[in-house]
């Protein structure tokens, strides 16, 4: 499907964060952008995401504490001191006596990268395959659908073990690769189901009667109307991918020390939930905030894009 990928580049802009294009004032993307700027939900979620990205890019701006330095004197027993803003003991210490606050900030990089990149990869890859299957039907649908069936048959654990063991050194990117490779099928099905319904609509028939090309019908007419379920699944799944990364680390095939991630911390904190619930609360809370930000963003973007809701 190389042609689809090329055509997708401008279309993605329209669907996502289109920049204003003065020469086309009535475009869907521009409309959406004008609409979005007025929505408080969008502003809040965008601000949160900018903050997360700032954590990921420059964690040292937010804390001067080394997230790997552990002093076992602090092992869980030192409770958080909530008045010590931005200090090492603000949120207490974890099992190795490391500052939970510092790890929360430094963990953003791996977690946000995994969350966003896997979601983006799965949505683009799965979305394109799903759209092709739903739109063309026939043998294209048969091949794509049956391939997704085969992928569904692979247990995640088995697939991840085999894929990640093939890497001699594992980085964030190998984890992203594995999760995209194993996760795109669900998005394909969601997109395919959505496209099959939208394809039947009168406006698609009308567009075709007016002589619109396949690419135009797909990306200008069908995509905006079919994207809603994909956005819903993608935004929720984002949190799921961050959690899955943690599971992989726990199984010894995910991220490794010295990489810091919320998932790794959530996993180790689960074991001490009775003695040190705060060790779990902060990384898990960050995960929730991230998911919430993306769900709100997804909602706002979808509402802005959907012509029916105008």
């Amino acid at each position: 499907m190389p042609d689809l990928i090329e055509k997708n580049v401008p279309a993605q802009g329209a669907a996502g964060s289109a920049e204003p294009k003065p020469e086309k004032p009535r475009s869907l993307g521009l409309d959406a952008w004008h609409d979005l700027r007025k929505r408080p939900v969008f502003i809040i979620s965008a601000a949160l995401i900018v903050l997360l990205v700032a954590f990921a890019i420059a964690p040292s701006l937010f804390t001067s504490v080394d997230p790997r330095a552990g002093d076992l004197q602090h092992h869980y027993l030192t409770k958080p001191n909530y008045l010590h803003f931005f200090q090492a003991d603000w949120f207490g210490y974890d099992g190795q006596g490391r500052s939970i606050y510092a790890r929360m900030i430094y963990g953003a990089r791996a977690s946000v990268v995994v969350g966003i990149c896997v979601t983006a990869g799965v949505t683009v890859l799965g979305g394109l395959a799903g759209m092709a299957a739903g739109y063309y039907g026939g043998w294209v649908d048969t091949v794509i659908s049956r391939v997704t069936d085969m992928f569904f048959g692979i247990p995640l654990l088995l697939g991840a073990l085999v894929v990640l063991n093939a890497f001699t050194t594992r980085t964030v990117w190998s984890v992203v690769f594995a999760l995209v490779a194993l996760g795109w099928t669900q998005m394909t099905r969601v997109m395919r189901g959505s496209v099959i319904t939208v394809k039947q609509s009168d406006f698609v028939t009308a567009a075709r009667a007016l002589g619109a090309g396949t690419g135009r019908i797909m990306f200008k007419h069908i995509l905006p109307n079919a994207i809603a379920p994909v956005i819903v699944v993608a935004t929720i799944a984002l949190g799921g991918y961050i959690a899955t990364e943690a599971t992989l680390s726990f199984l010894g095939i995910g991220l490794q020390d010295p990489t810091i991630s919320w998932g790794i911390d959530i996993n180790s904190a689960q074991k001490v939930i009775r003695t040190a619930p705060f060790a779990l609360f902060f990384p898990a809370g960050m995960l929730s905030v991230t998911v919430l930000a993306f769900i709100m963003l997804g909602d706002a973007v979808r509402d802005a894009l959907d012509p029916k809701l105008r």
Binding site: T142, S145, R146, D149, M150, F152, G153, I154, P155, L157, L158, G159, L161, V162, N165, T185, Q186, R189, V190, R192, G193, S194, I196, T197, Q200, A228, P229, I231, V232, V233, I236, G239, G240, A243, A246, I266, N267, Q270, I273, L280, A284, G285, L287, S288, V291, L292, I295, R302, D306, K308, L309
Partner: protein
């Protein structure tokens, strides 16, 4: 319709063979020597290791092993575990448990998820919708072991309504709690997909027509709105049923349920190629059936979709 179903059933054959092939070679790519690991920290006895590999059919080339496996599979022979048990027996113990657990979880997420989604979609932006968002968000962000821990503490240790773990994996009543934990992961998806779809369709022409015709509100929502909004939900549920049937390692572990997740985890952990392949063979059939049912449901839910 009949021809469509027949064609899909025929397509299952290559998918089935393809998946079994992929899985077979994946299990052969797993790291570590399963036979040698039986000796623990000690070095394996070479003579016994060779004899063991011979019994398991591991002493021939991978290609030959594949042919042997496929040949046996076609005659209904799933092979043996390293302990010498028949793989079909292992599957026979775990699968009924997982079917029960999966169906309970499935019913839970459908009933609760669609209900929450329907009401938040109808009252978009209102208090109920926002509460539902926070509730589903909580479910997404609480790791499963923590949810299980909370449930066990509240319902078993404090209230003493049930035992903390499942004493009899075949007992539907005891499987209720793990099913709720398991179903709550997908609950958020179902609720939010339903909500979005309802909110979208409520503005559509056919809704206006239906209301204009003076149909009662119940009927408008039930037959028109809900039915037309279900396609994304049904798609998701189709994939989710497959995932549920594949077993839930974490949930089964917390509640000590002896289902597919557990069996598959141990099989992968011990590198029991025959057992892993055996489970996948059965599961693939479930996935194929689920995806066929989903496609047939599309036509039921949206009369414009026709299959030749």
């Amino acid at each position: 319709m009949g021809r469509f179903v027949a064609r899909r059933l025929l397509q299952m054959i290559p998918v089935f063979l393809g998946t079994v092939t992929i899985i077979f070679f994946m299990t052969r790519m797993l790291p570590g020597d399963p036979a040698a690991a039986m000796w623990g920290d000690k070095a394996a006895d070479p003579a016994q290791l060779a004899a063991f590999k011979h019994r398991m059919g591991l002493d021939v080339s991978t290609g030959q092993q594949y042919l042997d496996y496929m040949g046996n599979l076609l005659t209904g022979n799933f092979g043996e575990t390293m302990a010498g048990r028949k793989v079909i027996d292992v599957i026979g113990e775990a699968l009924p448990v997982t079917i029960r657990l999966a169906l309970l979880a499935f019913v839970f997420e459908v009933v609760v998820g669609v209900t929450i989604g329907l009401f938040s979609g109808l009252r978009r932006g209102k208090a109920f919708d926002k509460t539902a968002l926070v509730f589903t968000l909580l479910l997404i962000s609480i790791p499963v072991p923590v949810l299980g821990f909370i449930f066990q503490n509240v319902f078993a240790i404090q209230l003493k309504w049930i035992t903390p773990t499942v004493q009899d994996s075949m007992n539907l009543g005891q499987l209720m709690l793990p099913a709720i934990v398991l179903g709550s992961i997908s609950l958020a998806y179902v609720a939010r997909l339903t909500r979005t779809s309802i909110a979208e369709n409520i503005k559509s022409d056919y809704m206006r027509t239906a209301i204009a015709k003076g149909l009662p509100r119940r009927k408008v929502i039930g037959t028109h709105l809900l039915r037309n909004s279900m396609i994304p939900v049904v798609t998701f549920l189709g994939t989710d049923l497959g995932a549920l049937m594949g077993g839930a390692i974490v949930t089964e572990g917390i509640f000590n349920v002896k289902g597919v997740g557990n069996a598959l985890y141990h099989a992968i952990n011990l590198n029991e190629g025959a057992t892993v392949s055996g489970f996948v063979v059965v599961l693939v059939l479930v996935y194929l059936a689920a995806s066929l049912i989903v496609d047939l449901l599309y036509a039921v839910l949206d009369p414009r979709i026709r299959y030749a």
